[in-house]
Symmetry: C2
Subunit: 240 residues, 2 copies
Amino acid sequence: MRVAAYKKDSDVTYTLGATVTMEFLNMRPDLVEDVIVHPDFRSEDTLNKIKEICSANKIPLETAEKPFNILSKKGNCYVIAVIKKVKETIDDGNHVVLVNPSDAGNMGTIIRTCAGFGITNIAVVPPAVDMYDPKTIRASMGAKARVKMEIFDSFEDYEKRFPDNKPYPFMLDGSTLLQKTTIEKPFALVFGNEASGLPHEFSLKGQPVRIEHTTNIDSLNLPTAAGIAIYEATKDIFGV
Amino acid sequence: MRVAAYKKDSDVTYTLGATVTMEFLNMRPDLVEDVIVHPDFRSEDTLNKIKEICSANKIPLETAEKPFNILSKKGNCYVIAVIKKVKETIDDGNHVVLVNPSDAGNMGTIIRTCAGFGITNIAVVPPAVDMYDPKTIRASMGAKARVKMEIFDSFEDYEKRFPDNKPYPFMLDGSTLLQKTTIEKPFALVFGNEASGLPHEFSLKGQPVRIEHTTNIDSLNLPTAAGIAIYEATKDIFGV
């Protein structure tokens, strides 16, 4: 298997690391084209599981060192899978909507939080960081295999497809406090760009919400804000 | 001003970027030894503010390119300050306690969240990532200038100094759900290592709490979990 440095327009992406790879092997073996194990990989248990799933799904499995030099500069990576990129369509249900997210690590962390709180559909409004970037997938800890993501040309396009999802745009000047807002389901929790937040016109969409904090910071870190919002919006599900 | 690549045992650290530097100039000018501006820096307003504060506090200010090549490989950094490292002592009040934190970015994000929700004292139990690492300071967006941090040899040492702070260790098998726990003040929200969490014996400290999530993830990202806990513990302060 020849691998090449990841590019946004390539038709495959890569899982870097055993945990992330196992998530795809377990959840989406149909997307796994190839698994490459480093000659120094020493976890027998994990290796046996990988062999079993690859064999059951006719996925080529090989041992090689070179792909790790090309794809993983950090070094603490001993398993890589080549993952087919497919266009996904999100389903009905509770949603998170990311408008202009710009950081792969942040996007991955939000995917992980969504999976943790049972949100399996994320809408993305571009310009946006690449949801298939290996950094995104790695930061998700492989949760990307469990969460569908779809790009919409605009928030209006999203609203047309999902008119029943009540939008809650999170804004620094949102008119209601998160802890005093009843979040109705199905919801769409909407978050803006890391540096600039949501454009002002989102204050006219649904119920704008703010997470109150001191003036000692300009804003919360995006995945932290999203985590707080997702926790609050789903606590009745997990609080029983 | 000669600068050198940051090391844990050096007696200065660095702020990388204008926002982070401004936080230290505004909050802790006493710690700023030197400010270096890149010749390509073009933000007149910020530069004037920097000049004003440096002049008022007799802080040397210079224009140079070389320190940026040594300290900032990412490139999008145009202001650096040299910051004196001082040993801090935390005060009474609500605390976050980080036991064995291992990632500088995560520690910085938690510092930012603490500053956001009015927690200005963090206890750290080693082994721990360096709180003065420029990566920590950058991830805090400069909030490190507003939050005191103190290293304790052990959690028991922390408890001896702050017997009135009720510990709430956050554990995957914590016996009460966060949303059903009354968090009494002054509190100590205690978080473990990114990969391994808190050692089992913490289940005997105060009231162990869990943030319930699906089995689709092994755990939440540490700064996300800390953000949710800090939000919940302080929402009565910010919800009025």
